[in-house]
Assembly symmetry: C2
Homo-oligomer: 395 residues x 2
């Protein structure tokens, strides 16, 4: 029933230039290999989207992002609305031109940031009143304004304006909020004026199975080009996160891309892909990089440790990135200790390469029909000691 | 007499793998076009050396430096001695390997930084006692240690340990300090163990003609691979700086490279070249970049000004650098206002390109026998209003 409905709606009101092709589905898991076609080119899925909050993926040139395999990036509506402002951005020719990025951009709706302002915001049916974190100025963000901003930015994939429900929350609050987010989703679709950009719905419903299901049903009724799971990575355990994916992802139409928002660790991505997710974004690789925390094939590690001060090995001897090919742990530690700009640049390059290369290996494994084996190997290589203790003399 | 002396000394104790070739000398000015040969390759002169204080030219990858034409960079002995430490650096294979830079490196002697510590240091005949700016630990830097550090770093051109005399200073103090720097210079030459690296003497003598002359005579007596003018850009006027160059540079042997240390603005470089200088270093392009101040063919400008917020033009319409080819003033202002890493990266790229491209144009002009005309054109293009007001609607 969902399928018929979504197809029908897509024909009527979906994006003209947006298409999702499914190439392979794993036999053992729900993992899917596909291609998203946008007006600015393709995205091979499963895909990770580096986060470019303020019109730049922090520390990276667009050419460097392309070199490590970024096919799409995420822009933050809230930040760009406040600075430089969406009307100014429109006058300057849109976000792509502004930041010199000609591949697809997905923009969030601004909802997540506005809700994370806490005390500074107030919700009603119309939208959210909030104060700018930059200058305290008063604003109201509505579904209509969110779409207006995203269209001004020139997003290739837009997201509906929703509430990212805090965790934990009562069933009653989750029900009320999710119903409101559904009404806002309908208003977003109504507000769209440019059919060449895609619009994705966002499944809410907190950690409640009945409300997640209801959210899916209601969004499919409205009909979107793709569907996201929102409200994850908000403090719940990994088990609960995977449970919510297990409840929700199978209900979504196979012919639309499925985006799990704000997730997550490399393990989270491997697990979410096994459950049928196609798209991800997370600040983890970029933010961790700036804090000296690096991702490797054997786990996460902090480069600031004194034991790296004369370590001539690359971060990860199994990694082929520019950083691992040219620099030692000793040098990266020195740059970090010296608070050098290049510390952020090199650490970000390595971490994003790790994430994007992981997605490449995931895509290859699904295409080769061996995702289950890939997942087992992935866990086998990791040293359980985990954070900050992954490097050993023998690696 | 100087010439004979220097040649004789060079044969006895100069670097084996260091050579300076003079290709052309301007008919109207003292400008010289040459090539320095080092054990790690050539440097075309007149040359500008980007400053890489802590084992990195702030915000730039080595490949990016090469792309904009950097042939040699400067490393800071004082900083690298304190962190990561020269013995550690030697164990890690030297500075080139550490920072992934295979072209020549010139290291300063540490003197300039130690003397700029002010209260934290004390001079005697042996050397300088000082406290680390990082942790307050006590150190003594001597001519012998300075050379030891520079050899541990693997410098291709080393500088003698000297006192950079504050300005203003009494004739008596300048005389005393310069004589001590000369004794230290002799000790530096004595301390050298690796004849494949070059060692440059540094002319001191403050703003006193007799003492500058004496310093030159004494250094030539000792004999070095090249000669620098130190103690400039310490607060004196441009006129005084040029006066010191006019007193000193003609006394130096034509067959050795002449390096004017810590200088300067684009105007300073054009003037120093006209007076026969071959090499320069300065933090101005890199430090200004991080503060949002950009060099252009029409003067210096601050990118933070509100009037650039919707300016779609590149920083300098006459510039062919990566930044001017791809980004607007509006974007660069946005990055700077947002305190983004990319602001430093792009601004540094542009400013260093400006300096290195200026040196290229200078070299071409000398080779073509038209340096005087070049110098006139250089001044003609500049808008006298200067700092922060150079951009106009019409450029």
């Amino acid at each position: 029933m969902y399928m018929t409905k979504i197809k029908q709606d897509k024909e009527q009101t979906g994006s003209d230039l947006f298409k999702f092709q499914l190439h392979a589905v794993c036999h053992d898991t729900q993992a899917r290999r596909g291609t998203i076609h946008t007006r600015r080119g393709r995205v091979e899925t499963p895909a990770f989207m580096p986060v470019g909050t303020q019109g730049t993926v922090k520390g990276m040139l667009p050419e460097q992002l392309k070199e490590i395999g970024a096919q799409i990036i995420l822009g933050n509506t809230y930040h760009l609305y406040l600075r430089p402002g969406h009307e100014r951005m429109a006058r300057l020719g849109g976000l792509h031109k502004f930041m010199n990025w000609d591949r697809p951009i997905l923009t969030d709706s601004g909802g997540f940031q506005v809700f994370s302002l806490g005390e500074l915001r107030k919700i009603d049916e119309q939208g959210v009143r909030f104060q700018s974190h930059l200058d305290g100025s008063a604003h109201i963000l509505t579904p209509e304004l969110s779409i207006g901003i995203q269209e001004s930015l020139g997003a290739d994939i837009m997201m509906v304006f929703d509430e990212c429900i805090p965790h934990p929350a009562t069933h009653a609050y989750v029900a009320e909020s999710t119903a409101r987010s559904t009404r806002w989703a309908a208003r977003c679709k109504e507000a769209r004026t440019d059919s060449s950009a895609a619009l994705f719905g966002i499944v809410q419903g907190g950690m409640e199975q009945d409300l997640r299901r209801q959210s899916v049903v209601d969004l499919l009724e409205i009909g979107f080009d793709g569907y996201a799971l929102g409200g994850l990575s908000v403090g719940e355990s990994a088990e609960v996160m995977y449970q919510v994916m297990d409840w929700s992802l199978p209900l979504l139409p196979a012919e639309c891309p499925r985006y799990v928002m704000g997730v997550g660790t490399p393990e989270n991505l491997v697990e979410a892909v096994a459950r049928g997710a196609d798209m991800f974004d997370c600040v983890m690789p970029t933010r961790n990089a700036r804090n000296g925390v690096l991702f490797t094939s054997f786990g996460k590690v902090s480069i600031k440790q004194a034991r790296f001060s004369e370590d001539e090995m690359p971060i990860d001897p199994d990694c082929n990135c520019y950083v691992c090919s040219n620099y030692s742990r000793a040098y990266l530690r020195h740059l970090y200790q010296s608070n050098e700009i290049l510390a952020s640049v090199l650490n970000t390059t390595h971490n994003l390469y790790y994430y994007l290369h992981l997605m490449q290996r995931i895509r290859d494994a699904i295409a080769a029909g061996r995702y289950r084996a890939f997942r087992e190997e992935f866990y086998r290589n990791r040293i359980p000691a985990g954070d900050g203790h992954a490097f050993t003399g023998s690696v």
